[in-house]
Every structure is written in C-alpha cells, then in structure tokens.
Amino acid sequence: MAILKPILYILVYPGLIFLMVYSTFCEWFDRKLYARMQNRIGPLHTGRSGILQPVADIIKLFAKEDIVPEKADKGMFTALPVFALAIVCTAALYLPVWHYTEAASFISFPGDLIIVVYLLSLPTLIFFLAGWHSTNYFSAIGGVRVLTMLFGYEIPLLLALLSPAVLAGSWRLVEIAAFYQNHPLLMLVNVIGFFIAVIALQAKLERVPFDIPHAETEIVGGQFTEYSGKKLAFFRLLGDIEMVVGAGLISAVFLGGFPGGLLPGLAWFILKTLFIIFLLSVLRAATSRIRIDQMISFSWRWLAPLGVLQLFIVIIIKGNMS
C-alpha cells in the first residue's frame, strides 16, 4: 500500500491521467466561454458540444509532420517541450488535493509554496530557450519577449502569493489552505492579492492581453514559430496543464483549498479552478493585446506597489490578531 499510493498519486490523481483529461476539458471550457462572450458558438462537432475538440486538436498535431530547422540544435530543440511538460506535471503533484491534514500529499513539506512557484517559472525559461534555439528571427524576438515579461509579472505574483502565506503563518500549501478553512472571513483580507495573482497568472500563461511573446500579427508564432507536429502538441498541452496548475495554486492559497477527502475534494478542485479560469476568460475577452513596454510599466507601476500594499495590510492585521 505504501508504494501504491505514490504511484496512484503520480499517475492517476492529481498526476498525469487526471491532468491530461482535466486540462483538455479546461481548454474546451475556456474556448467555449471565450466564443460565447464574442457572440460565436465555439467548438461544436467533436463530442457533445465539441467537448473533445482539444483532444482532437492534440491527436491531429501528433499525426502531423515534425520539422526541425537546419541550423537548430537538434537535441535541445527536441528535448525542451518534453522537459517543460514534465516540470509542469511535477508542479501539479504539490497541490494539496487529497486532504488538508498532515497526510495530504506525500511530498508536502514546509515551504512547498516556493517550490510550486519555482517550478511554474521554469517553463518560461524553456520558452526562451525554445525560441533561441529555433534559429528564426521571429522566434528569437519571441524568446526575448518571454524573458522581458518574466521580469514584469514574477515579482508581483510572488508578493501576492506570499501575503496569505504570511497571514496563515506557514509557507506550506496544506497549512495555508487549512488556515483559511478555519477562518473563512480572513480570505477577504487578500482580495487585492487575489486579483494581482489572477492577472499575473494570465501573463504567465501568455494569454490576451499578455500574449506578447507569440503575438501572431507581429511575430507570427513567437517562440513556437518553428515548432510543428508532436513538439507543438507538447507545448499546447503544457499551456493547458499550466493553466490548471496555476488556477489550482491560486485556489489553494487564496480560496481555502479543497477540503473533504477524495471526492468532495475533487468537486471543490473543479469548482474553484473553473472559477479562476472563468475570470481568466473574461479578462481575455475584454482586453486588447498591449505592447511589451506597456506591460512592464503596468506591472511595476500598478501590480508591484499593490502587492506591497497587500503585504502591509496583512502585516497590520496579523499584528492586531496576536
């Protein structure tokens, strides 16, 4: 039994199988919402209401011809998508999905919040390397834009995620979630931080208004310009899974996690992540892409100071509590 649980954890829930299935569902949910908000119908033909469309897209990409540019570093070019997907799936294992008690996750330890943030930053670096190794001008520009954006959103995201952790007095995801389940009213303290985190997550996922690195009308496909076939499918899957993990992280930190054991926990997980994805979709439908300089100045003029303000509020309230 002791061995079975980690295997179940890695392969079934919240590991690979669950992530693949749920992330494609989330992509469908996002696409459908986005389409309805734009007065379109969205995916319709594959499966009921087009629910299998993301799966069909990925299968189609796997069947397509896979081209590696002549001048590209073949090893790097091939390894990067797989590597990035593995990293994001690893990050998912740290989410406190089974219980909120001590035995929540067999790899849970004090400070795992930082690990998840770190693991979610690595794909960004891999996007840059992918762009750089593609030997294409558009990819190189896209890769540089990825890194430039990282300097904009990473600090506000960290500040926003740390505020609830400071209030809860722990940097362990299970304990943060448990704290807010015991004191639900204290969730309201972190409202500013919640919205900063959602906006920063949107930037991390490179979606409108922050789809600057692969702005198709400017630099074609950005860092993915030269990618095709299976490798592109890996990157697409990576984007979906990153969305699920990011939404899961925000709901664990800000919304009180997923209490109640396996099945109620799963229900909470789906409810809360879909809520976050709904917010992300609204943001995507309501805005236009901004320029890279506007993005950086927006992060440092608004997001970072607001993050510091959130931290101040938390410190003052914590001082009054004790």
Partner: protein, 401 residues
C-alpha cells in the same frame, strides 16, 4: 545590435502579399521599406482589349471591398466622354450604394484594426454588425460584394418602397452599434494604449507625401473629393468632412467612425429625397476621341481613373490610381519611428488593398533614352538569371546570434 527582418510576403498580419523590409534594433524599427509586385494582375492592359461595357465588369474586380468605387469612377469618366447626362434617380441610387459601401468598408476596417491590435472580441462584434449592411446591399443589388449596379446612364436596378423601409429600419440598429463602438474606442484602456501616439504623421508630412483619405484627414487636413470636387449628387446632400488632430492611428479610427455616422445620415437623406423618374437612360456604344480624368472619394481615399478614348468602342488607355498607392510613401514615414508591435497597426491604418495598387512600371533608360519591349521568354530568362545569383548554399547562410 541591428538586424534585418522581412515581414511578408506571407505573414499572419498581412491579408495580401506584400513584403515589409525592416531594420530592427531590439524592438525598435530603425528603417523600413516596402517591396511590392507579388500580386500584379495586368488589369490596365486587359481593359484596353475590352469594350466600355465589358470594362465596367472588369473595373469592378479591381478591388473586393471598394468595387463600387472603381466602377463609379470609371462610369462617370466614360459618361463625360460620351457627353451623356445620367438619370437623376440613377445618380441618387449610385450615391446610396457608394455610402453603403463606405459603411461596410469602415466596419470591416474597424474589425481588422481590432484583430491587428489583438482585440479579437472587437473584431467579432464589428464583423457581425457588418452583416447588416451586407444584407442591405444584397436586398438592393442581389450581391454582397460585387454589386454590379452601374451602367452608363444610370443604374441597373431600381429601389422600391418596401426596400426603402427595410433599409431605414436596419440603419437604426447600425447607428446604435456605431455609438457603442465610439464609446468602446474612447474608454477601453488597453485598446487606446495600443492606438494612441502610434504611427505619427504630421500635417506637413501628410501633405508633402500626398496621403489621401482618412490617413490625410486624421492629420487635420479637411480634404475630401466629395466636398472639393463634388461628383454624382454630393453637391446636393448635407454632410461634413470629418477630421482629427491627433495625427495617429487612434485619429484614423476616430475619423472612420465619424464618417460612419455621416454616412448613415446621408443614406437617410438620399432615401427620403429619392426623385421620381427613370433610373437609367440609353447610352451610345462608341465614344469620340478625347481624354478624361475622373476623381472619386473611395472609403480608403481619393481614387483616380484616367481614360483615353480613340473613337472606337474600346478605351485606348485606362490608368487606375488606387488610394493605397498614394498612401505608401506616408506609410514608410510612419513606420520609421515605431516598435515591432506597431507595424501591423500602422500598416493596417491606411486600410491597404495591395492588389488594387500593384502596377507595372516600364522605365526607359534615362541615360541613352532607349526603350525596349520584352517577350515572356525573355522575362523568364531574366528571372532565372537573377535567381541563380542568389546564394542558396546551406553552409554560407549565417545565423547572427
């Protein structure tokens, strides 16, 4: 480090084949140039081999958006050559179609601007509403894109009372939606952030570089053929020339939205004051030797047709100057100060129609004065010679990073 990137001839931001050659320094454009000639169709040569009536249908196919602009420009030129006075009711209907076409073209442009700026919702909304005006055009002419309404001496079809009522009903919806877009363009911060201050073209530059249409008017020059040199019935209908002083892409968008509102008022006026009588008169087949220079304010700017007749039923020469061609020099000036992210917006802001503007220029040798005529096989030999000079060996292509 400066490096050169070619945007196009195939690129997601470009809807037709054109190449923008840029010298970049990071995200900033240091230098820009345009390379044309990917979609030359030889329309002017074709026109010389067809009769005047056939040429109406040929000029309609110069452009897929301002098809009525080209036929009207051609038709009114030929009518002048024929010394023919078209039917008054026909002229009113011709003007009505012209304004409906302006509405459809400007709504299309708004959507394209949204798409180039990465604002997909705006694109979807404007193109949905564009269907309303497309339906109106279909009720009147039977076609959505190539209306084929013009004939010498008037128009092909009349408008009845039921159509009038239907059009006026649909106009209400369009007006309401346009007000909404005006509000949206004035209040959505990310959209304004992308458009304001981008692609600056001062008043002096705009005049010196011979810009036309909304590009010129957005730089504060109130120049409009409909007002300056009225054709059809524009001298009789009340309207204002819309301008903006901001000299940027936002100004060009504002000018177009204001023109939409002016067009709605004009359409209403035209329908309510439609004169009774015939909508076409009989035209002669042959045209006396003469030449004419016909001007027309297309949605994209001033459109010019030069027609020379030689007494037969075919024109000796037809020269078309589409508005996009006049706007190219200004585009290059605008591109030179921007970021990479601004290229699609600046280029789209002139509402380019690349096929319309492709012309073959045959240059005589300026030094010796000799000119030559090339056959197709000679041209092919020249092209082969040029392509063999291009270095295609793999090891010689350097990747600078």
């Amino acid at each position: 480090m400066e490096y050169k990137v070619s945007l196009g001839p195939q690129h997601p931001a470009l809807h037709e084949a054109v190449s923008i050659r840029m010298t970049l320094d990071g995200e900033v454009i240091r230098d820009a140039d345009l390379k044309l000639g990917y979609s030359h169709r030889g329309i002017e040569k074709l026109a010389e081999e067809r009769s005047y009536v056939q040429n109406i249908y040929l000029t309609e196919r110069i452009c897929g958006i301002c098809s009525h602009s080209h036929t009207t420009c051609f038709t009114q030129g030929v009518e002048q050559l024929m010394e023919l006075v078209p039917a008054r009711r026909g002229l009113y209907i011709r003007t009505l179609i012209a304004e409906l076409e302006r509405v459809h073209s400007h709504l299309l442009w708004l959507g394209v601007a949204g798409q180039e700026a990465g604002f997909e919702s705006f694109f979807m909304y404007t193109w949905r509403d564009r269907e309303v005006v497309m339906d109106i055009l279909e009720w009147i002419s039977g076609n959505r894109v190539h209306y084929a309404m013009n004939i010498f001496g008037g128009v092909r079809r009349d408008i009845d009372e039921l159509q009038k009522k239907k059009i006026l009903d649909s106009l209400g919806l369009l007006k309401q939606r346009t007000d909404y877009y005006l509000n949206l363009a004035a209040s959505e911060p990310t959209f304004i952030g992308r458009l304001a201050g981008v692609g600056m073209l001062s008043k002096e530059q705009a005049v010196a570089l011979c810009a036309v249409g909304p590009t010129l008017r957005a730089s504060g020059v109130p120049m409009d053929v409909r007002k300056d040199d009225p054709y059809a019935v524009y001298a009789e209908i009340p309207f204002e020339v819309c301008t903006a002083d901001s000299c940027d892409v936002l100004g060009r968008a504002v000018v177009r939205v204001k023109e939409l509102i002016q067009s709605y008022n004009m359409i209403e006026y035209l329908l309510k004051n439609l004169p009774e009588g015939p909508f076409k008169v009989k035209a002669p087949r042959k045209v006396k030797p003469n030449e004419v220079y016909s001007r027309y304010e297309a949605p994209r700017g001033e459109n010019v047709h030069y027609i020379k007749s030689n007494g037969s039923d075919k024109p000796e020469r037809l020269k078309v100057r589409a508005p996009t061609l006049a706007n190219y020099p200004a585009t290059i000036a605008m591109l030179k100060s921007g970021f990479i992210a601004d290229i699609p917006l600046i280029f789209a802001a002139i509402d380019p129609c690349i096929c319309c503007a492709e012309r073959l220029v045959q240059m005589d040798n300026a030094y010796s004065g000799e000119s030559r005529v090339l056959t197709f096989s000679q041209l092919r030999a020249m092209a082969n010679e040029r392509s063999t000079k291009v270095n295609t060996k793999k090891k010689d292509i350097a990747w600078p990073f």
